[in-house]
């Protein structure tokens, strides 16, 4: 009986380890927001910038934050697979007493085409509606569901829910073979 129990526990541990490894392998591509340049109105002084900087640094997965008073913006880079959304960033700025405006983003995610609308599922929580500009209209027309792409684009002052991105560039991202 004891030997049977021991064997069962060993199998359980090994199966669990394999499941965790597989889950990790499935996320080894850089998914999620990678860079955000968020415009901010209302910051007039050094403590304003300091407070915004400290608040944004506390977002999970943040790699670097730089706040400019004179340009009125925060530039943020994220580690791969960050689960931060654009709304998380905007909420932190509002909590500081300032006004978030338009933003420029770079993100990686999976394309979902449904009912004529093209969406990017980026990370565990972020979803963007992709809209073309003059130079990306044909690229977006040809994109297919399931593809992993990296986009850069602009988000308006009132981005909507989910936020709409006017895409400036789109390129395919190669997935590691272990993911397939």
């Amino acid at each position: 009986m004891k030997r049977e129990m021991s064997r069962f526990l060993h199998c359980f541990v090994w199966i669990g380890a394999l499941v965790l490894l597989a889950a990790h392998a499935a996320r080894t591509h850089a998914d999620g927001l990678l860079e955000v340049e968020q415009a901010i109105f209302g910051m007039d002084c050094a403590p304003c910038a300091y407070g915004v900087e400290q608040s944004l640094k506390k977002l999970p997965g943040t790699e670097h934050v730089q706040v400019s008073l004179n340009d009125g913006k925060a530039s943020i880079t994220f580690r791969p697979n960050s689960e931060v959304t654009l709304q998380d960033i905007r909420n932190r700025i509002v909590d500081g007493g300032f006004t978030p405006r338009s933003a420029k983003i770079r993100a990686v995610g999976t394309v979902v085409v449904r009912g004529g609308e093209i969406r990017l599922s980026s990370g565990a929580r972020a979803v963007f509606i992709l809209r073309p500009n003059a130079s990306t209209s044909s690229t977006l027309r040809d994109v297919q569901s399931g593809l992993t792409v990296e986009i850069t684009g602009a988000v308006a002052e009132k981005p909507g829910d989910p936020p709409a991105v006017t895409v400036d560039s789109l390129k395919l991202v190669e997935r590691p073979t272990t993911d397939r």
Partner: protein, 285 residues
């Protein structure tokens, strides 16, 4: 200086070390006048001030500590306590507040700042308005020979903040309640502030940030009531003007200024004020 609340200073110092650094830091304003900024949501601040008032009777020093907390980004709660006094004894200490936003001498004051209006029309620019409501209890039985009761303070200020210019205009009323037939005279006050950030200090964050202000403060105090009778040697009007400076770096701020009376009309035989000077150390956490 006789310190009347060293244990409270220890409490604030301990709190500032233990409380986690939180989001937001709204800057700061003038030394004596009313201003509009409020702390960010969940943010704390500590203002420790030292003020000197000089009159014909001599000099008196007062210290005060104010702890602020951002309930939301537009609502700030404050607790302001007197830390101690020293220097010459005035027969009739001037009726004023330790800076319009920091409570009156000898009072323990709790207040709320509600920034009910805020518009950011451009980079580095805000128009905003704040209402101030405070309630205080005295930490002494008598002040200027008058039994001191609790009080209420109501203020309103509107203003503009930018990378170059600042201005605020506001006013308030500070009313004391009666205590055993005595009542400290109420105080009405108006303040106007203009601030300027020189080009040298308009370099981008995280460079140090300095501003200069010109502040004006008008005060009108009622006569103190003693046993139901007005004390003829109390109350009056003053208009004071002077410069102040504010320096900010990271989560630290230092400010200081001086006001000189340009006009005084004091009842009875009160000593005229020569100047009041103040220094404040601020920390955001």
């Amino acid at each position: 200086m006789r310190w009347i609340a060293p244990s409270v200073l220890t409490l604030f110092a301990t709190a500032s070390l233990l409380l986690p650094a939180t989001a937001g830091a709204e800057g700061h304003g003038p030394v004596f006048g009313l201003a509009t900024p409020t702390l960010g949501d969940g943010q704390w601040s500590s203002d420790t001030g030292l003020m000197q008032m000089r009159t014909d009777e001599g000099s008196r020093f007062m210290a005060r500590e104010t702890l602020g907390y951002g309930v939301t980004e537009d609502l700030q709660a404050n607790l302001s306590i007197p830390l101690g006094r020293g220097g010459d004894q005035f027969m009739q200490p001037p009726r004023t507040r330790f800076g319009s936003m920091m409570g009156a001498f000898g009072d323990l004051e709790a207040s709320l700042f509600w920034r009910f209006h805020r518009v950011a029309p451009a980079i580095g620019t805000r128009y905003e308005s704040t209402v101030i409501l405070g309630a205080s209890v005295p930490t002494e039985e008598r002040r200027s020979g008058v039994k001191v009761g609790p009080s209420l303070n109501l203020g309103l200020v509107t203003g503009y903040a930018s990378r170059t210019w600042y201005w605020w205009i506001g006013g308030g009323m500070h009313r004391y309640f009666e205590d055993s037939g005595d009542r400290l005279g109420s105080l009405d006050y108006l303040s106007a502030v203009v601030g300027y950030r020189p080009p040298l200090f308009r370099q981008d964050y995280p460079k140090p940030d300095w501003r200069v202000f010109v502040e004006a403060l008008a005060e009108r105090a009622e006569k103190n009531q003693v046993g139901g009778q007005g004390n003829p040697n109390s109350g009056g009007r003053k208009l004071l003007v002077g410069p102040s400076v504010l320096g900010l770096y990271g989560k630290w701020g230092v400010s200081g200024g001086v006001l000189f009376p340009v006009e005084q009309d004091l009842n009875g035989m009160q000593a005229e004020e020569k100047y009041r000077a103040k220094f404040v150390l601020t920390y955001w956490f």
